[in-house]
């Protein structure tokens, strides 16, 4: 008898989550409300059942998330009794920063990266779980499960600790922190299969529905609220669409789809020809942009 690949991935992730809970004083689990976070939170529940999560969840809210995401987040955390912390970087917001007037690179750095670093400092978290997977992007392929960050939360790709077997080195100095990626070895397909197998609830935006969208720079952008600035000539159209990844709505492209069940989503993913990150405008700005963002403290 051998474990299936999902059983094995599950066991390895649980091992990582327990190890962090055992060795760190004040860990936190980043909760981005997306499908990867949904899987990560389920794994954490499994790690400590029948007990509760021994750490809070953290959402870095840019205030530009889809409304359905925020509704889902609040209901999900309430029902499960999670300790949810929400942080927004208010300074740039007060100064008028928004995803329309500023290029997506600057916007992401300030709202997400700086927001995250602020939140870690505010609550004194020394370890932060993230749902990133190595198969998402080329520079992620070299990320460790424990990603060491200096006092400025920066990542140095040439100076990472060797990581052998399942012996993770969690020793840090005061003020330093680590990012932990329990889903490192999962692929997009693994995540969807697991959600299906475990009946994990996810935000309805992943399923196709008729939604108001405009076509902008080759992507379908949903008009989620009245803050959406329409360019001259743009008229919202009603289209049957869904999202493969979720983020800030003005920066997240939808795909036309009729998939309304998990198996249909998986079927569509298996037959499609474009990677999930294509829908994320922030990754395309410049070559190696993920590497650049991570050096600055992004997940």
């Amino acid at each position: 008898m051998a474990l299936t690949h999902l059983q094995q991935l599950e066991a390895e992730s649980i091992h990582v989550i327990r190890e962090v809970a055992a060795e760190f004083d004040n860990p936190v689990m980043l909760y981005s409300i997306g499908k990867d976070s949904a899987v990560m939170v389920r794994l954490a529940q499994k790690a400590f059942a029948p007990g509760k999560l021994p750490f809070p969840l953290l959402h870095v809210d840019t205030t530009w998330k889809f409304r359905e995401m925020v509704t889902f987040r609040d209901a999900f955390c309430r029902e499960n009794g999670f300790d949810l912390r929400v942080h927004t970087n208010r300074e740039p917001e007060a100064a008028g920063m928004n995803p329309f007037d500023h290029d997506s690179q600057t916007y992401t750095t300030v709202m997400k990266t700086h927001g995250l670093v602020q939140a870690l400092g505010k609550w004194g978290f020394d370890a932060a779980f993230g749902g990133a997977r190595r198969d998402e992007e080329k520079s992620r392929a070299k990320e460790r499960v424990y990603s060491f960050r200096d006092r400025l939360s920066q990542w140095d790709p040439k100076n990472q600790r060797p990581e052998l077997w399942n012996l993770y080195n969690g020793r840090i100095h005061k003020g330093e922190s680590i990012r932990v990626f329990p889903l490192s070895n999962w692929t997009e397909l693994d995540v969807w299969q697991y959600i299906h197998l475990e009946s994990i609830p996810i935000v309805p935006l992943y399923f196709a529905a008729v939604r108001p969208v405009v076509e902008r720079d080759g992507a379908l952008i949903m008009v989620d609220d009245d803050r959406m600035r329409l360019r001259p000539g743009e008229v919202p159209m009603q289209k049957r669409v869904r999202f493969r990844t979720l983020g800030c709505y003005p920066l997240t492209g939808a795909i036309e789809s009729s998939a309304v069940t998990l198996p249909e989503i998986i079927r569509e993913m298996l037959l499609t020809r474009n990677s999930e990150r294509q829908g994320r405008m922030i990754d395309h700005d410049e070559k190696g942009s993920m590497e650049t963002k991570k050096r600055e403290g992004y997940f």
Partner: protein
């Protein structure tokens, strides 16, 4: 992502539920790819990903653009660009760190540890090998078995990889010649036998042209075996850890309320069953497994590598770092261990140094009691050594502040492995694979530190016995050539001039090799004396020192 053959695609399209049910039966194969610079490793991986249809259109477009801009593939799509990730690597055209890649076929999910072939990156290869079941060793058909091939194979065997694919790449550049392939195989086989690599599969390929990667090569009809991907899908992986002794290192004590006290952990090897009589080490207290708890319900048994929570029938004291085992199959319990070490930091490992070691779920302080030898990774020759530098591999003895619960790494990877952590920087400085409990004297000597240092200990540390090599007063040239040679080989040798002969006894007590330029008739006090005749050479003196047992 069309990563399936057509019939499977059809199934996805027609009956996704049936397809997903099939997917449930997949298992994971982790493998490592090792090769030298330019032997086509990145090309091979890119080809595996591409030919198994794991590459999306948007990625493929980017790849075509990049290939046209900057490519060493001469007009063809450069698959290596798919995997050379970091900016700094793309600039240099090399791979500088272990990267993990993923793909799946209908039979297995694959995790590739892509490790760079540069001399200075032995640590990365060891890192990738630590979790791999199988290693693909790439051999350039133009050059055959190189010292790098030996190095990669040695590290693979050291890290306990049992299955090796010797992939002879770039066969297109040798006219797909069977004789070339067979010659290289014969060379490799002789070498693999010495390393104890028993399961070696030989495969001729051209990663660039796609020969024998996913589909059978039409250019090499003489090769009867399966192409690489088919081999990877079907090779039976030795997972004898399921049948071996139970090792359950306690990772986390779960106390959600006063009524529940569970011990969470990952089954490192063996099987734990409800009702089993188990012992908690190091205390030795026994109890019975009351429940095996998971969020999805209680289990009757759990096998490696499941992550579960165990409750015991009795209130015995168990904490993180302890281990649950069966009474009839105990691990070693010892503070002293002898281990092979891969050193991964610029700060050298020296005897007497103290590190934290992380072994299983335990972090303990440990002192390096002795460094016995260094292994030349290219030749596997063993030399006496006093320190281990970056990328060195050697055999050492450690003494831990508290007893370690372990098995030999060769028997159990999970309980035989540890890492070195520097106390000041917190960096991971090295990796260790336990060979055996250390001999009692080494362990005690290191721990108490109160006993005098014995001649045997000096011998272990220095790698040679004390001796005086006596030359004529005029043989200065030979004396310094000998000093240099011995020094370079890791020995402590020094030249003593004609008027300093009185220093010889002190140097001998310190365990040194004294090269003495003596006046005729001078009395030299040393228990081992090698008198050098006229006409001797550095080589002949070394031979004599070895014959006399001076050099270890």
């Amino acid at each position: 992502m069309i990563h399936e053959p057509l019939d499977e695609r059809e199934l996805i399209d027609r009956d996704i539920e049936a397809y997903l049910a099939l997917q449930q039966k997949k298992e994971i194969l982790r493998f490592l790819t090792a090769g030298s610079v330019d032997d086509g490793k990145s090309t091979l991986i890119g080809r595996l990903l591409h030919d198994s249809h794991m590459v999306y259109d948007d990625q493929l477009d980017a790849l075509r653009k990049d290939s046209a801009k900057k490519s060493s593939a001469g007009g063809e799509v450069d698959y290596s660009l798919l995997v050379d990730g970091l900016l700094s690597e793309r600039e240099q055209g090399i791979t500088i760190d272990v990267a993990y890649r993923y793909f799946a076929t209908e039979k297995r999910k694959f995790i590739i540890a892509d490790t760079p072939g540069h001399e200075q990156y032995t640590r990365n290869m060891a890192t990738g090998a630590s979790t791999a079941d199988l290693a693909i060793i790439l051999i350039d058909a133009r050059y055959g078995v190189l010292s790098q091939t030996r190095r990669h194979s040695f590290i693979a065997s050291l890290l306990g990889i049992r299955h090796v694919v010797a992939a002879v790449n770039k066969m297109d550049l040798r006219g797909y010649d069977q004789a070339v392939f067979e010659g290289i195989c014969a060379d490799y086989a002789a070498f693999a036998a010495k390393l104890g690599l028993r399961d070696v599969h030989y495969l001729p390929l051209s990663a660039l042209k796609g020969d024998n990667v996913v589909t059978r090569s039409e250019s090499m009809p003489w090769y009867q075996g399966p192409p690489l991907l088919e081999y990877l899908e079907t090779v039976p992986i030795a997972r004898d850890q399921h049948t071996s002794a139970l090792r359950f290192p306690v990772q986390y004590v779960l106390r959600p309320d006063l009524d529940f006290r569970g011990f969470s952990g990952t089954v490192a090897s063996g099987v734990i069953r409800r009702g089993d009589r188990v012992h908690s080490l190091p205390s030795g207290r026994a109890s019975t497994v009351a429940r095996i708890v998971t969020r999805d319900g209680d289990l009757e048994e759990a096998i490696a590598p499941m992550a579960v929570t165990v409750t015991l029938a009795d209130e015995i004291d168990v904490s993180r770092g302890d281990m649950l085992v069966h009474g009839d199959a105990l691990p070693h319990v010892s503070r002293g261990v002898e281990a092979m070490v891969v050193w991964m930091h610029e700060t050298e490992l020296r005897p007497g140094a103290s590190y934290l070691i992380k072994h299983g779920t335990k972090v303990v302080s440990a002192e390096v009691t002795a460094i016995h030898e260094r292994v030349d990774v290219n030749t596997q020759d063993r030399h006496p050594a006093r320190s281990l530098g970056l990328n060195d591999i050697g055999r050492v003895t450690l003494t831990a502040a508290r007893p370690l619960l372990f098995d030999a790494y060769a028997d159990n990877r999970a309980t035989g492995a540890f890492i070195f952590i520097d106390r000041l920087t917190n960096g991971t400085y090295g990796a260790g694979m336990i060979l055996a409990p250390a001999a009692a004297d080494a362990a005690e000597g290191g721990a108490e530190g109160a006993r005098g240092v014995t001649a045997a200990e000096r011998l272990r540390r220095l790698g040679h016995k004390a001796a005086a090599v006596v030359l004529g007063a005029g043989a200065e040239g030979l004396a310094y050539a000998l000093e240099r040679r011995l020094w370079d080989e890791g020995f402590s040798a020094h030249v003593i001039g004609p008027r300093e002969a009185g220093a010889v006894p002190v140097c001998q007590a310190l365990g040194m090799i004294s090269i003495v330029l003596a006046e005729p008739g001078a009395e030299i006090e040393a228990s081992t004396q090698v008198v050098v005749e006229d006409g001797a050479t550095v080589e002949s003196v070394l031979k004599e020192l070895r014959a006399r047992g001076v050099l270890g």
